[in-house]
Symmetry: C2
Subunit: 498 residues, 2 copies
């Protein structure tokens, strides 16, 4: 048994290593690669992806899993969890025929180019046939993976295991309507208070100084620079090569230092999660979040709940003064707070404030689920999109580039991803309720820049659990209730309307 277990772990380590190596190649592609390196990089990524797929679906690994399953009673709970999670990966990957995987990769590659072109020309018709192909192939993928109530469930499972289309629909039900109402009230309130303004005045702020400031804040949050680094990339992201090497990227806008700071805190939220995985699991699928929604809860927690609070503004002012002795213009805390919490319905999701953000997500979820279920057709997407934008945000996109063509996800064939963004917001608020019960002086600590016990709490309650539970199970065990929109709506009311 011990020998079988060791051989199993060795095979697993190789499959995991190939996954991590792919991440190194992708990180370098976004951060460092010169333009003429793109052709070879695509080839190298295809080689590693092929080897990784072979490693996860090898008959030898499958046989070991079967042997171990037949003797599961001999395994301790942690080993049983490792076995279960490995089996989940293997089963899922094995259900997809190689021809379909290749067809999806090709459709995504063609789809991405077509999307770039369509967005540039603000012409949905250029993307339509590609999106049609991606929807049919994704539907085929869902059928291969298997589903009961909705084909959307099969795709969602990749990102938010344990959740179904029905569960999310119920969770989002009323959320859109109630949140839209809140937004209207908040906008009125902010106008009455003399208007909120973003970016704050007083720039420009040099990129070098912004880097110094974000690094100081990240350090205070507990991000370990011995086990990671911060670089620049056009689209900020977090990537994990190992629990000892979790890297983030950011971007600096010289006219708005808060934009880069929020982005860095968001990615650091993800990175703290990854740096906090148990070392013993690092070469197994257990060293991962149970879902993207749970991952996003960590980034949103730091970016929005902590990073857009009044106490944080007091800390930030202090911190910058200690760091720069006046050479970096830092607005007063109230101006900072107003800039960080300015609410305004807008057309573009990635620029949306924390109050309107979910509305962008709900409309995407509704449309993509309907596409997969076949209840709407691809050609109707622009009309559908614009109609919901009016309903939820009171805005009409002037063209499809600022409407249904704004996001890259569908062009990659990623259906089922969007809801995790909103779930992250809901989970974060729900977790913070529990955190405030355990740490009643939370806001005092934030004001002092004492983030240690906050991180310790997240480590103990969330990070160290890895993938031993689903997101729903984990949230229920930590907060005492299943995923709910109420804590988030309560958070918005308390923060913006009290």
């Amino acid at each position: 048994m011990a020998d079988l277990w060791e051989r199993f772990l060795a095979s697993l380590a190789e499959a995991m290593a190939l996954r991590r190596i792919k991440s190194v190649l992708e990180w370098d592609q976004e951060v460092n690669m010169p333009p003429k390196g793109a052709r070879a990089r695509a080839e190298h990524l295809a080689v590693v992806a092929g080897l990784e797929h072979r490693a996860w679906t090898s008959p030898a690994l499958r046989e070991m899993i079967e042997s171990l399953q037949s003797r599961e009673s001999e395994l301790d709970p942690e080993s049983a969890a490792i076995l279960r999670e490995t089996k989940w990966e293997v089963d899922r990957l094995s259900r997809l025929p190689e021809a379909l995987v290749r067809a999806l990769m090709e459709a995504a590659s063609a789809g991405f180019s077509a999307w770039v072109d369509a967005r540039r020309n603000a012409d949905f018709s250029l993307f339509e046939p590609y999106l049609q192909r991606l929807v049919s192939l994704s539907r085929e993928k869902a059928d291969c993976l298997g589903w009961e109530e909705s084909p959307y469930d099969a795709l969602l499972e990749e990102y938010e295991r344990g959740m179904t289309h029905r569960m999310i629909r119920e969770l989002f039900e009323n959320l859109a309507a109630r949140q839209a109402e809140l937004v209207a009230a908040i906008v009125d309130r902010q106008e009455a208070a003399g208007g909120y303004r973003r970016p704050p005045e007083g720039g420009p702020w040099s990129a070098g100084a912004q880097r110094q400031l974000t690094e100081a804040v990240l350090q205070d949050m507990g991000y370990d620079f011995q086990a990671g680094r911060q670089d620049l990339s056009p689209h900020p992201f977090t990537t994990t090569f190992d629990v000892g090497d979790v890297r983030i990227t950011t971007r600096f806008d010289e006219n708005d230092f808060l934009s880069g700071l929020s982005s860095s805190m968001h990615e650091a939220g993800h990175a703290l999660y990854e740096q906090g995985m148990p070392d013993a699991w690092r070469r197994t699928p257990l060293a991962d979040a149970p879902s993207l929604g749970m991952h996003e809860s960590q980034s949103r927690f730091w970016e929005n709940i902590i990073g857009r609070s009044r106490p944080f503004c007091l800390y930030l002012k202090q911190r910058a003064e200690g760091l720069f002795q006046g050479t970096f213009f830092m607005p007063d805390p109230e101006t900072l707070y107003r800039a960080l919490t300015c609410v305004e319905p807008s057309l573009i999701r990635v620029e949306a404030d924390e109050c309107t953000y979910n509305l962008h997500v709900v409309l995407r979820f509704e449309i993509e689920a309907a596409l997969l279920e076949g209840t709407v057709s691809v050609k109707d997407v622009p009309e559908l999109w614009n109609g919901r934008m009016r309903a939820y945000l009171g805005l009409t996109p002037p063209d499809d580039a600022r409407g249904c063509l704004q996001d890259v996800h569908w062009s990659h064939g990623a259906f089922g991803y969007f809801p995790t963004y909103a779930l992250g917001n809901l989970y974060a608020a729900q977790l913070c309720q529990a955190l405030r019960r355990d740490l009643p002086d939370l806001w005092h600590r934030v004001e002092q820049g004492q983030f240690g016990d906050i991180l310790a709490w997240l480590r103990e309650k969330i990070h160290r659990c890895g993938r031993t539970k689903t997101a729903g199970e984990l949230l229920t065990s930590v907060t005492g209730m299943p995923p709910s929109p109420e804590p988030f709506l309560h958070y918005l009311k308390e923060k913006f309307l009290s």
Copy 2:
């Protein structure tokens, strides 16, 4: 046949891709990796190295090679060369039993740690047993690879194919004695001329400005920043991920801007070679230099022959003035020239000037060959080393850290590597004689910063040939004579004593 050839190229492309991926992981390790990433990186490198070895030695690839060989008459010369070079790689890798490869890797890993420790303590006895083990395993490796006159030949083949111990011995014969004589005369001459001084006065020079200056010079040399980039690392190196992605590293010393500049030009010399490989060969072993000596000829050519010439100093002064408008202190051309050509026997190879450098190499070659042939024993290395330092450079190392423990190579089990450094110097001088015949106004062009035709000549004569010939064949075809020490000795006399 066409189908077989395509399948062969596809297998080859995968083996090459794995080699390149390993380079990406290694580059990141030197340039970016945070300390806690080291453990996983070693694991990932081991996985890729294993997969690469399997790819090169797979029975399928071997069978394709045999089938193609039996129909070689149907191949065009280029395809025949690709087949030959692939067979060379496959044969060499297949002759090494996996157990020996692993034993060598482990001995190198242990040897490296012991060497770091021994060097820190200046105590050869701490390294001696590890070096003993590395020598015996390398001797075993040589026996597996096969040799006729000297086991050294089998190891040398990896770095300088076509050369033998005897050939290098003959090439180096008299070189040491004649070069040592020249050095003495040059030192006297420089003293009589009022002394040469390095670094020049006028610093410090900020790292940012040095980066700007080196990038301008590299651009003028023809290094394509769309197909590469320059980063910082403790030990400068060049690495190739593809003909479209060839990266160099450098280091800046704020008290001596010439040190970083020379280093950048050296690496750019290597990189221009790699960027100049025919695109059609990029996924085959043909897109490589025939030997490390030939590779080093390109780096030495740019670093020393061009970069330490009077016309280059005139260009550099001009270039810096155009770039910085006085904000970067640039000494006058004669002071620059004296700093760049200051000759002084010294203990450390990597700091040696171009006149004394080969002497450091010759003594290492003599010692390592004797170790492999078993004519001296490991325990006698320090004494042997110090004796030759006295004979060639007139210096006695005060301790082994500044003597036989200074280089990392032997601790990695790399025997047969050192001579390529000196060969590079000899090849560069021999090539430059031919270049001057074809471009009589060479020095005028250098003074004007017009490096285009120089690079074009190197591209045509050397870079585009890849590995179609051995270094000796290539040099003979370009210069009309086999590798010889005479052009190099002539170059030194003309430059330093006329």
